[in-house]
C-alpha cells in the first residue's frame, strides 16, 4: 500500500468566548466563526488564484479583516453556548470522475482505482437548536450524467481524475479518498471513461494520521453485460489502518448494494 501524508485533524469540538473569533483556511476557502452575546456569525470567502501548493488546511492563520469576507450567515441564539463543532462532510450529489485517459478493462480483469472527492465544511453552532451551515471547500463544477439531455442525473464533476496508484493523488487534508475496485465479468472489454460515485451514500472516516477516507466501493460488471452491481463495503480499505467515523452518510442505505444499468454507473 502506498503511503499518505499525515495531517493534524482540523475537525471536532471547539469553544469560543463572547466576542472572540476563530479563523481557518481550507485550501482556497477562508472561514471565520465569531461568537457574540446572543448570536453566531459565520463568514466565508473564496480566495481567487491561490496556487495549488498553498491549498492546505490551517487553523487561526493570519486572518483577513472581517469586512473582507464576502458571505455572512448569522444565527441568533438566545444565550449562545461557547461550544461549536466543525465537521467535514461529503457532497450532497453524486460525483463523476474520469481517469486521465480512458482505460480499457478486458473481460475477467479487475482494477483498483483511487478517487479524491471534494468536501464540504459543516459548522454546527447554537447547541440548543443544532443550527448548522455547510459550504464547499471548492465549488465543484456541475455535470450531467445520463443517456440523454433529458434522462439522467445532475452530479458534481471531480476536478482530479481517478488514479491507478494512490501516490499519484496529491495529499489534501480537505479532500476524501475512495478506493474503487472494478471487476469486468462481461464477455467483452469495458471502456472506463467516466465513473459515478454515489457520494451521498458514503460516510467519512479519519485514519490515525488525519487522512479522510470513505468506505471502499466494489463494482462488478455482470455477465449479462447490461447491468453492474455496486457494493459499499463496511469501511475504508484495511491497509489504511485503524479508522474512526467522522461523519455518517447523508443518505442511509440498508443493504449497501445497488444494481443499476451499466450506463448509469459508467456513463
Amino acid at each position: 500500500m502506498q503511503t499518505q501524508s499525515a495531517f493534524t485533524p482540523w475537525w471536532g469540538d471547539f469553544s469560543l468566548d463572547i466576542g472572540d473569533t476563530m479563523h481557518w483556511h481550507f485550501g482556497a476557502l477562508e472561514l471565520s466563526l465569531q461568537r457574540l452575546r446572543s448570536e453566531w456569525q459565520v463568514r466565508s470567502r473564496t480566495i481567487a488564484g491561490l496556487p495549488e501548493e498553498g491549498r492546505q488546511v490551517s487553523m487561526n492563520p493570519e486572518a483577513s479583516p472581517l469586512s473582507h469576507y464576502s458571505r455572512l450567515e448569522r444565527c441568533i441564539c438566545h444565550s449562545s453556548s461557547r461550544h461549536f463543532r466543525l465537521l467535514p462532510v461529503l457532497a450532497d450529489r453524486a460525483v463523476v470522475t474520469r481517469p486521465s485517459t480512458p482505460v480499457h478493462l478486458p473481460r475477467g480483469e479487475k482494477v483498483t482505482l483511487y478517487v479524491s472527492s471534494p468536501l464540504w465544511i459543516r459548522a454546527v453552532v447554537c447547541a440548543t437548536a443544532e443550527w448548522s451551515l455547510e459550504m464547499p471547500v471548492i465549488v465543484p463544477s456541475d455535470t450531467w450524467f445520463g443517456a440523454s439531455t433529458y434522462d439522467g442525473e445532475l452530479c458534481y464533476a471531480a476536478r482530479t481524475g481517478a488514479r491507478l496508484y494512490l501516490d499519484d493523488i496529491a495529499p489534501r487534508a480537505h479532500r476524501a479518498l475512495t478506493q474503487v475496485s472494478i471487476h469486468n465479468k462481461g464477455d467483452d472489454t469495458l471502456l472506463l471513461e467516466r465513473l459515478k460515485l454515489p457520494v451521498p451514500f458514503l460516510s467519512l472516516y479519519a485514519t490515525e494520521n488525519g487522512v479522510l477516507w470513505t468506505e471502499s466501493l466494489s463494482i462488478v460488471r455482470e455477465q449479462d453485460m447490461s447491468t453492474a452491481t455496486l457494493q459499499i463495503q463496511r469501511s475504508p480499505p484495511d491497509t489504511v489502518g485503524a479508522v474512526m467515523l467522522i461523519s455518517p452518510a447523508r443518505v442511509h442505505m440498508e443493504k449497501g448494494i445497488f444494481v443499476r444499468a451499466l450506463n448509469a454507473m459508467f456513463g
Binding site: V96, S141, D142, T143, W144, F145, T149, A157, R194
Partner: protein, 289 residues
C-alpha cells in the same frame, strides 16, 4: 283559517317535510364526505403523483361524490332521474349552441389534460407571455408572469398556439453569440472561450461546451459558445458567462469590434479627400475639416 293550520302542520311534520330534511341532510353529508374523500386522496397519493394530477384527482373525487349525493337528494324530493337527464340533454344542446366558445374551451381543456404539455408550477412561454402555471382549469390556464401579472389564457388559444415548457427538462443550453475582430487568431479565441466555460462552476462539464463558428459578419467573425447549466442556475450562468467572457477577452487582448463601415465613392468619382494632421488643437481640426 280552518284549513291553514292543518296545512302548515302537514308541511312541517308530514312526509314532504321529512323528505326535504332527508335531502338537506344528504347534501350536507355529501359535501362533508366529498371534502374528506378528496383530502384523503391528497394524503394518500401526495408523494406518488404530480401536483397537476393531484388537483385533477381531488376535483374529480369531490364533484363525483357530491354529484352522487345530489342525485340521491333529488330522488328524495321526488324528482325522477330519467326525466332530469332527458331535460339535461335538451338543455346541453341548447347551451352548446349558445356557448360555442365555452364548449370549445372545455373540449380543448380536456385535450390539454390528456396531452399534458405542462403541469401546475411549470414555467411556460405561450406566444409572447412567459410565466408560471398557477392552475389548469376547465376553460382556461392561469399564469403568473415574472413581473407579477395574472394572465388568463383560454384553453382554445393554447391548443392553437406554440407552447414552450421551460421547466420540462433538468438542464438547459445557453448560446452566447459573440463577434471578434478579423485580426484575431480564431483557435486562440476558441481556447479562451473554452477556458471561460471550464472555470465557471455553473457550466456543466457534460454535455461539453461547444463552439460553432457562425460565419463572417459585416464587422466581425461571429462565434457561438454553447454551454449547459442546471435549469435552476440558468440565469446565473447567463449573467456570469457574459461577465467572464468580457474579462477573459480583455485579459487576452481579444477585440470585440464595433460595426465597421467602408465608404466607397464609386469608380467614376474622385476619392474622398482625407487630410491627416498632427498636433492640431481640436479647434484647428474643426477649421481644417
Amino acid at each position: 283559517m280552518d284549513t291553514f293550520w292543518p296545512q302548515v302542520s302537514e308541511w312541517l311534520f308530514g312526509e314532504r317535510a321529512f323528505a326535504v330534511l332527508r335531502a338537506l341532510l344528504l347534501v350536507l353529508a355529501g359535501f362533508v364526505l366529498a371534502k374528506f374523500v378528496s383530502s384523503s386522496a391528497l394524503r394518500l397519493f401526495g408523494r406518488q403523483m404530480s401536483q397537476h394530477h393531484l388537483i385533477l384527482l381531488k376535483r374529480l373525487l369531490f364533484y363525483t361524490t357530491l354529484g352522487l349525493f345530489l342525485v340521491s337528494a333529488l330522488r328524495e324530493l321526488g324528482f325522477k332521474l330519467s326525466v332530469l337527464l332527458g331535460a339535461a340533454g335538451i338543455l346541453t344542446v341548447a347551451v352548446g349552441f349558445a356557448s360555442q366558445t365555452s364548449a370549445s374551451n372545455i373540449i380543448s381543456g380536456l385535450f390539454l389534460l390528456g396531452e399534458r404539455p405542462f403541469s401546475v408550477g411549470d414555467v411556460v412561454k405561450i406566444d409572447n407571455t412567459m410565466g408560471e402555471v398557477l392552475s389548469i382549469d376547465l376553460l382556461s390556464v392561469k399564469l403568473k408572469t415574472y413581473d407579477n401579472l395574472f394572465v388568463r389564457i383560454p384553453n382554445e388559444t393554447l391548443i392553437k398556439s406554440e407552447v414552450t415548457t421551460l421547466t420540462r427538462f433538468p438542464i438547459r443550453r445557453f448560446d452566447l453569440q459573440i463577434g471578434v475582430a478579423y485580426k484575431e487568431d480564431i483557435p486562440h479565441v476558441n481556447e479562451v472561450l473554452l477556458q471561460v466555460a471550464d472555470s465557471n462552476p455553473l457550466c456543466l462539464e457534460e454535455p461539453a461546451p461547444a463552439i460553432i463558428i457562425q460565419g463572417f459578419g459585416e464587422s466581425s467573425i461571429n462565434i457561438q459558445l454553447s454551454v449547459w447549466a442546471a435549469r435552476s442556475n440558468f440565469l446565473a450562468l447567463k449573467n456570469s458567462i457574459y461577465i467572464d467572457t468580457k474579462a477573459a477577452f480583455d485579459q487576452a487582448g481579444i477585440e470585440i469590434p464595433y460595426p465597421h463601415r467602408t465608404i466607397y465613392a464609386g469608380s467614376q468619382s474622385d476619392p474622398i479627400a482625407v487630410r491627416v494632421t498632427r498636433g492640431a488643437s481640436p479647434e484647428q481640426e474643426a477649421d481644417l475639416s
